[in-house]
Symmetry: C2
Subunit: 347 residues, 2 copies
């Protein structure tokens, strides 16, 4: 039974202290130093016994016989869970974050700021994932004809963002037709997500051919390309690459290079980060990200979804070394997610 070691209250206390201390110093922690933390109520020898149990339980390990102990991934997981509930941001951090975020006006600025804040707080990467296109809400559509037969489609979302695309339809349209189509979309689907619109159109196409035939066809031809434009690259915003270079856990060039390559392939990040959208907890802590790279062993990701209105949109998070200040990081991610959603709403 692996968890046996963790059952006893004192053992958990010791484990938490070891983790905390290792996060601070980055060096294997000895029984003596933990003993001191307990205000000398327990001797090093006792702590050693506890530590031996914890090692059996898979929470600690020794780099070599005569070294102190280092937390394993399991220890971090335990630790994160232990403190997640009571994680709270220092007033100083809170003010600083709000200050940083409040000066941003455009969506881009806000994103950049949020990423920057997260990177600074964690000494790791700050990552922002934009809402996937299909979750975008249509407020207003407009189309017009170009002299050469192409069509400009502009979709407006609440909050002032817009997306446009030039479409080469396979048949020619008149401006009147375009107006009718746009009007149809506006009356029928204002407030729907693109994803939902698309599904509904396909459904209607099958069941109610006779009623709207032309319009539905037109709408599909004209909207689909816009919806599918999906720029997978621009969706992810990463800030703070420079930070991870300093971290001693990635001092190995090979590891560092591999990690940076993984980061450049941003879609890999997205899947890990977006796990939090369906997670039950408000903030998700993942420890040991094998998906990322060989060095993923000692990577941790802390992520939270942000919402505008009440629709989950995308997520923000931190990717950093497992040896990270979890209290600070967890609460910062939560706070940034909150501010980020708010800020987007205000545009």
């Amino acid at each position: 039974m692996k968890n046996a070691a963790i059952q006893e209250r004192r053992n958990r206390q010791v484990l938490a202290d070891v983790v905390r201390m290792y996060i601070e110093t980055g060096e294997p922690v000895s029984s003596r130093s933990i003993s001191k933390r307990f205000e000398e109520t327990l001797s090093p020898a006792t702590i050693r016994n506890v530590m031996a149990d914890l090692e059996d339980g898979g929470f600690l390990y020794q780099p070599h016989t005569s070294a102190g102990r280092v937390p394993t991934a399991a220890a971090y997981r335990f630790f994160a869970q232990e403190i997640a509930a009571q994680a709270t941001l220092s007033v100083h951090d809170r003010d600083w974050i709000r200050g940083q975020m409040s000066s941003a006006k455009t969506t881009e600025e806000i994103t950049e700021r949020a990423g920057h804040v997260l990177a600074e707080v964690s000494n790791g990467l700050g990552i922002i994932v934009a809402p996937p296109l299909r979750r975008i809400v249509l407020e207003h559509a407009r189309m017009w004809l170009l002299p050469d037969g192409r069509v400009v489609v502009v979709l407006l979302s609440p909050g002032g963002t817009s997306r446009d695309k030039i479409v080469k339809p396979n048949r020619s349209f008149t401006q009147a037709e375009l107006d009718a189509t746009a009007d149809f979309l506006n009356r029928q689907y204002s407030g729907w997500t693109l994803e939902a619109i698309r599904e509904d159109l396909l459904l209607k196409l099958a069941t109610e051919r006779e009623r709207y035939e032309g319009l539905i066809q037109s709408a599909l031809t004209l909207c689909d390309p816009v919806a599918l434009e999906d720029g997978p690259v621009r969706e992810v915003y990463v800030e703070g690459t420079a930070q991870i270079v300093g971290a001693p856990e990635f001092s190995s060039q090979a590891h560092l290079k591999e990690l940076l390559e993984a980061i450049e392939e941003k879609h890999r990040l997205v899947s890990v980060l977006n796990a939090c959208i369906d997670a039950p907890e408000p903030v998700l802590v993942q420890i040991g990200i094998k998906e990322m790279s060989q060095a993923g062993e000692n990577l941790a990701m802390i992520s939270a979804p942000y919402t505008r209105g009440d629709l989950a949109q995308g997520s923000v998070g931190i990717l950093g070394p497992t040896r990270m200040q979890y209290e600070r990081a967890i609460s910062a991610v939560a706070y940034v997610a909150e501010l980020f959603g708010e800020a987007l709403g205000k545009i």
Copy 2:
């Protein structure tokens, strides 16, 4: 007279060989190895004499007394100049590059590909700078009124790119006014750059108030925000951060970190890279980029402007260690710039 050492033909030959060899191996090159390159027509001792002269001239230096010689920035400059004229791409590289570029369709894809190609070829960073907004050419403008009084402005450029923005004008417009303004822009300024339009509008405003008064005013109010939207961040595209980690010249963590920070502040890159637009040579080689960071000493940038039609638009380039394969890099930059411009034109 610093250049004295370089006057003699044989000295230049030796210098070039030292640089070439150092680029290959990355280690200080000895007199013996150069002697071998000369097919034994000169003894190591002779080469040593030449090298001593070159050291006096500031082209070589010794890490310590009993080591070989390493090229200085001056040596690289000389070398780059020497080979720039005759730089030519291997058939293999040429095919590969064309292959990589040809599969890209959208502007984003093309940019990404170009960046990727440059990074791969150079083992450094591939950098693409988009044309500054003011150089964008207007093909067609359109505006319409939103229910709440805001105005959507869409500017179309030749080649199918478009840019839109939602403007909150300080007075209210009617749709008819908007149509008239757009029409005015289209008739008067189709084919002009935004920069030029803006200037001309301001000029006309001063001299011909009476004729177009309303239109000019409207055009300015509505277009300026679009033109000034200027996303300084999105303008620069960098690929290949992972590459530079491997380079032994940046093995020092401190240097590496500093460099990555500099790269994240992309605007710093832009000014260096854009120097090539006004340079007389088709491809500009800069060696020792002090602007970037302390480690800039051993950084080199190779850049070339790309054009669409006959308008210089932006630039593409490589940022890498001074110890770089210049022949390959220079010709690759030239070729990518050419293909990039072409590809943009075809969209």
